[in-house]
Symmetry: C2
Subunit: 347 residues, 2 copies
């Protein structure tokens, strides 16, 4: 073999790396409808599809136990996986949860974690059917796999966006990131002065959005009641910008979104102000909001606009037009993926 330049993982980025590592795999099983490359894999069971997704949550990368209550962490670990199932337009049914724990953990601490898992399972009516428990020489490790089902005609992939589709976003964006910023600020103040008492009052909204996100099953139900099947869908884990680019890449299209239509809560704007941050930045790049981004045909404009909590933020364009953010002054700026990146550990 010819000598190759050793590439670093940072150079490739998470998505480049996954693409690269999985390129040599082919599928052999008839039942495999879709493998790597969407929010979940799709398995064909004849009368219906099953969707499967998995996530790894690591202490020091995805969460900080200094300010994350274990019950919230267990809840969130399940919920972020259910969000991927919903983003396929599926109904979650089962989860497995594996946990790696260091010696410092007490049984009581683990009970807290599993209580959060149990609450999430109960709320979203999914069964915890298995997992693995192991010692860890270092930090806490959580691996969750979620399984759901859906009627075949309801499957919504990232790749289904069509030219002139409307781009819709549920809820509001950027709040989870500002919640994280508050927690990080108070942690630093506490580290500098151990007598300092963290002040979290008044930040309830953004803190809850970060610590206890809820997947938007209510939006999926509203869409169903309105008779709308989205053409393409993804949940916001990395940020609107990064996740919308996933839709564009998979659907081979461009997009344009309008900065003044991107939904941002007043609380988020206020906290962004405290950090001298333009609110659009966490809304575009913050991630972990677990809202839904989806596209619908132009003809669904009236019906989709009538759903509370759904915002039309732009439209799908031709691939060659690229992905663009149009500002109030009419300038078009290229949309770039600057989402939360576990490999560079940007905020």
């Amino acid at each position: 073999m010819a000598a190759r330049k050793i590439r670093t993982i940072e150079e490739m980025g998470e998505f480049g790396l996954i693409d690269h590592l999985t390129s040599g795999f082919s599928t052999l099983q008839e039942s495999t409808k879709l493998g790597v490359g969407d929010d979940a894999a799709v398995i064909d069971h004849g009368a219906y599809y099953q969707v499967i997704t998995t996530d790894l949550l690591l202490e020091g990368i995805h969460f900080d136990l200094v300010y994350t209550p274990l019950k919230h962490l267990g809840y969130k670990a399940v919920v972020v996986n259910l969000s991927d199932i919903y983003a396929m337009n599926g109904a979650p049914r089962q989860v497995t949860i594996s946990v790696g724990i260091s010696d410092k953990f007490s049984v009581e601490a683990l009970e807290e974690l599993y209580e959060g898992v149990r609450l999430a399972c109960e709320r979203y009516r999914v069964d915890m059917v298995g997992g693995d428990t192991s010692a860890s020489v270092t930090g806490l490790i959580i691996s969750v796999t979620a399984i759901g089902t859906l009627r075949k005609e309801e499957l919504t992939l990232r790749s289904g966006a069509k030219l002139h589709n409307l781009i819709c976003v549920s809820g509001d964006l950027g709040a989870a990131f500002m919640g994280l910023k508050i927690l990080e600020r108070e942690k630093q103040l506490h580290a500098a002065d151990p007598g300092f008492q963290p002040e979290l009052k008044g930040y309830d909204y953004v803190l809850e959005r970060f610590l206890k996100p809820e997947p938007r099953v209510d939006i999926l139900l509203a869409l169903k009641e309105s008779g709308i099947i989205p053409k393409a869908m993804i949940d916001v884990s990395d940020g609107l910008s990064s996740d919308l680019l996933h839709i564009c890449k998979a659907s081979r299209c461009g997009c344009q979104i309008y900065d003044d239509r991107i939904p941002i809560a007043d609380e988020t704007r206020k906290v962004a102000g405290e950090f001298q941050m333009e609110p659009l930045v966490p809304a575009l790049h913050g991630g972990e909001d677990y809202e839904l981004i989806f596209t619908v045909p132009l003809s669904d404009f009236d019906r989709v606009s009538a759903i509370p909590g759904v915002h039309v933020v732009g439209n799908i364009t031709e691939e060659k037009a690229g992905a663009r953010l149009v500002t109030g002054e009419g300038r078009a700026i290229p949309l770039q993926a600057q989402g939360w990146n576990a490999f560079t550990r940007q905020g």
Copy 2:
């Protein structure tokens, strides 16, 4: 709430801990046939069952990169999960693989790991359909979930053993543990004298059993050809003793096995001798052999004995008789779980 004594995880042990943490969960989904407590969970798809299992492999706990080639590690990570699917009498179909990696990893190293995953998928005809890749602040983390299917009448649980059933073991036991001992010995010699060259020649069999185990799909095929459906089955991950006790507990029965019938390879005996170790010890307690332990009715004795590589090692007794090892001298010793325990990190 009344004050409770804080219990440590070591006190409870892995299986006690899992029982304890999962006791508060109930199942709501009709399709959930079986949750926690066997080699895999069982999901009912009407015409057939689907089985799902997941395993967490952690650097410093389950593997040591000093002597584990990454390609072997990727292969083994898949294979140990497939072994759980086979132990339900299922045919594996899909796997997902999540990996957490530290900065020190090069893309080339990850390619090696995924090449092992790919080889295992190809050999056992399963599709890699998803996963997650993340940075890790410390060691390498691998989480694999495997999915299989089977005809309903073929489902083989740990709980199906019946009084007077024959207890059968495939292949031979204890080899993987002796392979690990060799690798640990050479590592220590190398640490004491960096100029020392590890000497692994002549140990191929036990090393291969540890580094590149193969699940016994061949035994399942032979059983099918003989028209035998096992009553209860488990794969040997923790050791014959510990895993047979799982069958006894789930089936509410006792067992007696005969020390002179436990299959041990000559190579294993030889290496055990080098360590002044009774070969029966790794055979009973070594683990990671990924052989099958299963029970069949007495009436299947002739047919099951005729299958190459299947050994009848004892029989199922009443629960009150307990689990016993009968020695050549006719003494009966209680069987105890002393398998590999990730919480106490016994070798």
